[in-house]
Amino acid sequence: MGATRGIGRAVARRLAERGDTLFLLGRDPADLSLSARDLEARGAAGPVGHAHLDLGQPDGFPTALDAADRALARLDALVVTGGLFARQDELATDPARLAALLHANFTGTVLLCQQTAERLAARGGGLICAFGSVAGDRARRSNYLYGASKAGLAACLDGLDLAYRDRGVRVLCVKPGFVRTGMTAGLPVPPFAGEPDAVARRVVAAMGAGRHQVYAPGIWRAIMLVIRMLPRAVLRRVQF
């Protein structure tokens, strides 16, 4: 889910190149179709199908997952890179936009992952990979609304991994730092910015290694370790 753009596009390509069978979920059928053809040309096993899924409309999730199940013969992994993003100033003054973002990034994604976990557990296991963010590790005055949606999701993924691992379902929470994609276009580029391809390689490696959490680029693990330990008084004083 989210394979048409940014990190999702790069992750899907890595999976296609190693010969995985893929099925795409998303909102724009024309865009999904373009990405499906791209992934087929890059080596995906068999035709790449797609179905409608909007993270803001959880009612449609069972239908979309059924379609994926049918097309893949047996769905064994879900990767969710899709989500909404907006600058803090846009969210702070526009309640409707904020509600849509919280609904998609938290409620929608949690519902999707939970339903999928049940499906996978019922047939003996599988993998769920979804995207939190370093923005969820510690609130920033400039990004706490988006960060909160990702912090909530990360907490859910953390618990999901604990709860379902015994039933064969592994859950990976990816926490990207700043990555140069269409999502972050126009934002000032901070140090340690990553590229989608490098992030995708790291994510796919972490999927194979059975990890429950991965920072990408990797340096963000160290950065966030420090930032999480900063005393609140420091955060108040510096423009963080």
């Binding site: 989210g2 048409t4 753009r5 940014g6 596009r9 190149e17 865009d31 373009l34 990405s35 053809r37 791209d38 040309a41 890059r42 080596g43 899709g82 989500g83 909404l84 993003f85 907006a86 600058r87 994609t181 269409g182 999502m183 972050t184 276009a185 126009g186 934002l187 000032p188």
Partner: protein, 449 residues
């Protein structure tokens, strides 16, 4: 994910890092012309050296294609590839070399987009045999200035096609490209190198090699003078057969990076002389033959990421011209003498014989000899040198390559390019108001500021 609406100003520059213009760069994942009337300049990976992909107006709109990089289809029986304009040759190589396919024409870097390969009608070491990139393009989809989606090719909207191949992105935004890849038996190259003691030997070596080798090129020591003028190394190659490659594993590309600007002393005359001596000494005039990776053969400089930083903050001016075969070796010798006299202006020149010109109006290559060199940017002195070289090129019926150019005068370019009036006429039909406009098109092609 919802893209943001605001676009911060960025410093936009070419690979030579001169000139620099602030611009608003859009990098859409679905490439298209933004709504409105504002002039824009199309851009790929920014490997053009000069001002070809820079906005003329400070803060002007730049549409970068690099995120529009999806493959639409690939026919494994014929090698026909339909892709979005932002797909890079590096990505094509990564995906298709293991399957036995190679770009039909490649410039000296793989970090170029397919759209830019069309817009610059790039050429490579196989020009003497295969011609330039446009020859392998079957279809282009353009978003033209009037908002129409237009397909063109050798058999459809041929005028627009001839104006778009080599047209520097100024006839419309190239959205997707259909081209033919060529089959290869292995990812390895057979490379032969031989020292050439003089310019005549080099030209003769290129001529003799052309008959039997699909890829040829020469590197010339620009500091050598007198009888040694034009000495250098001749390189010729071909894709290795399965038998030659044997059980060798596929080559892996390595990359190092230049993380900061080079110090001024790095390219000083003594260093360059030493570098060239070393280079000549390492080769001698003996013929050497070995197997190398296609990265080593085609893209030696790509192994050093951001190597342009070695030229320091002022950047470099690259100069590339082609002189017609009929003019003989004399003008090449004149150019090399000028360079040597100018003192360490350049330490290495690339020389290559070109085959027949294409029918694209602004396509650079023509039957003859092309010379390409890097000139550290020393401001007015370097610009004067380029105008001086241009005078020789004009006098002998040659031309310069827009993808490398940052300083050529409009009147000089008009004298070099006989197809320019026809190209303008096609452009008048498709983009009368010059919606597609670059710093270069204002400087050298007569677009309004």
């Amino acid at each position: 994910m919802e893209p943001l609406s605001a676009f911060a100003l960025e410093e936009v520059t070419g690979w030579g890092r001169y000139p620099v213009r602030p611009g608003r760069v859009q990098r859409p994942e679905r490439l298209d012309v933004p709504a409105g009337e504002e002039p824009l300049v199309p851009r790929g990976l920014g490997r053009a050296y000069g001002d070809a992909a820079l906005p003329y107006t400070p803060g002007g709109l730049v549409v970068e294609s690099t995120r529009a990089d999806r493959i639409r289809s690939f026919d494994a029986a014929t090698g026909r590839l339909h892709c979005e304009a932002g797909l890079s040759l590096a990505e094509i190589l990564r995906v298709f070399v293991p399957r036995g396919w190679f770009p039909p024409v490649t410039p000296g870097t793989k970090f170029v987009t397919v759209g830019a390969c069309v817009a610059c009608d790039v050429h490579g070491k196989n020009h003497h045999r295969d011609g330039s990139f446009g020859r392998f393009v079957e279809r282009l989809t353009l978003r033209t200035a009037d908002g129409r989606l237009v397909e063109c090719g050798p058999d459809r909207e041929h005028e627009l096609f001839r104006a778009t191949v080599g047209g520097m992105g100024l006839t419309g935004l190239i959205l997707d490209v259909t081209l033919r890849l060529k089959p290869i038996e292995s990812p390895w190259m057979v490379l032969e190198t031989q020292g050439m003691p003089s310019l005549d030997a080099m030209l003769e070596g290129l001529r003799l090699s052309a008959a039997h080798w699909p890829y040829t090129v020469g590197w010339i020591d620009c500091l050598a003078r007198g009888a040694q003028l034009g000495r250098g190394i001749l390189m010729r190659g071909r894709h290795a057969t399965q038998v030659e490659a044997g059980s060798r594993p596929a080559p892996r590309s390595r990359r190092v990076d230049v993380p900061f600007d080079g110090p001024g002393w790095l390219l000083n005359p003594l260093f360059m002389r030493w570098f060239n001596q070393l280079y000549a000494w390492s080769h001698g005039t003996a013929l050497k033959r070995r197997l190398v990776s296609h990265d080593t053969f085609f893209y030696p400089l790509d192994a050093v990421g951001r190597w342009n930083r070695l030229y320091g903050r002022r950047g470099l001016l690259q100069y590339q011209c082609v002189l017609p075969r009929a003019a003989g070796p004399r003008p090449i010798a004149i150019l090399l003498e000028r360079l040597a006299a100018a003192g360490a202006a350049s330490f290495l020149a690339v020389i290559k014989d070109c085959g027949p010109a294409s029918d694209a109006y602004l396509s650079f290559p023509m039957e003859g000899t092309t010379l390409a060199l890097d000139l550290p940017n020393r401001g007015a002195v370097t610009e004067a040198l380029i105008h001086d070289l241009n005078a020789t090129v004009v006098e002998h019926g040659g031309r310069i390559y827009l993808a490398k150019d940052a300083v050529t005068r409009a009147e000089d370019f008009a004298r070099m390019m006989p197809g320019l009036p026809e190209w303008r006429a096609v452009r008048d039909r498709w983009d009368p108001n010059r919606r597609f406009r670059s710093a270069q098109s204002v400087r050298v092609l007569g677009d309004p500021a």
